[in-house]
Point group: C2
Chain length 305, copies 2
């Protein structure tokens, strides 16, 4: 059974102090699918593009065992476009342009074959669309969801409706604080726990990630990098590595969840090494395992007292 991924596909124009790319492959569903494809397959992708979406990107996705039956290609439609500029401090970025285009009227339709999927990853799109996806699924039993401040502020009611049906919420620390009105992250988890998700993952960028469940708090380090070329898609790559590893292992224990957080962090580190999706295009699973081991070395210390 495949892993269902829903989200955006887009063409990104990104500038950093080091370089710039134009109309490069982007979008939450793209990063999630590519990252998870190193762990499991097939990935069932649901999304929308215009017929200006380059064939080579279609081929790239297909080469990663990503099933595109759920990809709507709109004739004479224009693909979603995003443009951003990163500052010297790569934690700061300006959004220069967001063109929804075909996304404006997106109505996610889940092909019959996809409806039986048990693992669902809802990339960061309008919570109303995320709900529409869940409504079409037969009996999903592990739903991971990403969102952002835009929806927390603008569509809170729909988001709260969605969260009741979500197992894992992945957001960053400022989004967690915004959603709960609670600066303390332990208390924020307790509030989010009551909203629905049993599991909260807080992404902290260069400071790593935190996993909260009823049983454990786990702190994952960030991979120390000398050169970050393009932070775009790091969070989505994290989500893809996380759910991809869980789909592969079919083990939802807290201990395995920790490993999934590390694999998510590993995929995020590969993502930011190169522009656009380049860092996720030609990996070997051996390299992913090597990086997992580097995370182990980075955080391990002896038990002596």
């Amino acid at each position: 059974m495949g892993l269902l991924v829903v989200g955006s596909l887009g063409l990104d124009t990104v500038a950093t102090p080091f370089d710039r790319v134009e109309d490069a492959l982007g979008g939450s569903a793209t990063y999630i699918s590519l990252a998870s494809s190193y762990f499991t397959g097939p990935v069932y992708l649901v999304g929308i593009v215009g017929d200006d979406f380059p064939k080579k990107y279609i081929a790239l996705l297909e080469n990663h065992n990503i099933d595109l039956e759920g990809l709507q290609i709109v004739e004479n439609g224009r693909t979603f476009r995003w443009s951003g500029k990163y500052h010297y401090d790569l934690n700061v970025r300006d959004t220069l342009l967001t063109e929804l285009n075909v996304f404006e009227t997106f109505n996610p339709i889940i092909p019959d074959k996809f409806k039986k999927a048990k693992f669902v990853c809802l990339g960061n799109i309008d919570p109303v669309l995320q709900l529409q996806v869940l409504d079409q699924m037969e009996s999903p039993h592990f739903v991971v969801c990403d969102t952002m401040n835009y929806w927390i502020e603008g569509k809170k009611d729909d988001l709260l409706k969605l969260l009741k049906r979500v197992n894992v919420l992945i957001i960053n620390d400022s989004e967690a604080r915004l959603l709960t009105n609670e600066p303390n992250l332990i208390k924020a988890f307790r509030t989010i726990r009551k909203m629905g998700p049993e599991i909260l993952i807080i992404k902290k960028g260069e400071h790593g990630a935190l996993l909260f469940t009823d049983e454990v708090i786990f702190s994952a380090p960030a991979y120390p990098m000398e050169m970050i070329n393009d932070p775009t898609g790091a969070g989505d790559s994290f989500a893809g590595g996380f759910i991809g590893y869980l789909h592969k292992t079919q083990d939802l224990s807290p201990e395995n969840m920790k490993c999934a957080v590390i694999y998510g962090s590993a995929m995020a580190s590969f993502c930011v090494e190169k522009f656009s999706t380049k860092g996720l295009e030609e990996l070997q699973y051996l390299r992913v395992q090597d990086r997992f081991r580097e995370f182990l070395n980075l955080s391990r210390f002896n038990e002596k007292e």
Copy 2:
């Protein structure tokens, strides 16, 4: 042989959104000494206060096996005072007042008995004074040093002179970036390495700490806390736990250094639980070990792939 600690002793007036204390025990040397006293002893303290410094604080320090032969008590002098106010986000604080008082003319004199100490912790004071301390030592072989943006900006030449004679520099991430002009922390370590210290520890507050040596990078998590009452002294408590554990074990290997970083983090977490030095006053070593184990649980994950 004792562990030499030099720094400030002061009376702090601190307000947070939750409470307020007036003329409470404070100062870098105070926190470092108290934190390290749980691991080793005696601690040789060098500092200065006025005769307004309460006798009960003298007694408290003495009860922790802190040797006060190097504490100058100035007759008719007024003790260093600091006052600060923390915001609802405890990472943000305003300094309301800094009265140097007796510190203005401080000339650190190391008692003969202290001069043979091998382990030295230079708390955050003027680098000129830190240099004067080192000049008086016979053959220190492990020197840990803290500093801050104020000295990096105002006394860089003296600081650079000092760093040539320091083994471990402990600073926060913004100070590391300021000192090196380098936003990337791996590159910042390489620059600082050339300034002298073989080891760099970067404190990141609620995001934990990073240890850099030529051999390893180690990422220590922060202890997740529901209630932080007073962040004052956290960095000094970290330094005290770090050097105290190393002085106890006399093992400067990278592996043991990692444990020392965790013990430093543990002492910082005890410090911020209560106002002023209260969190460091009545600990049992068993509680310190328990917290060490909690750090282990917080960051440990399985090696399976």
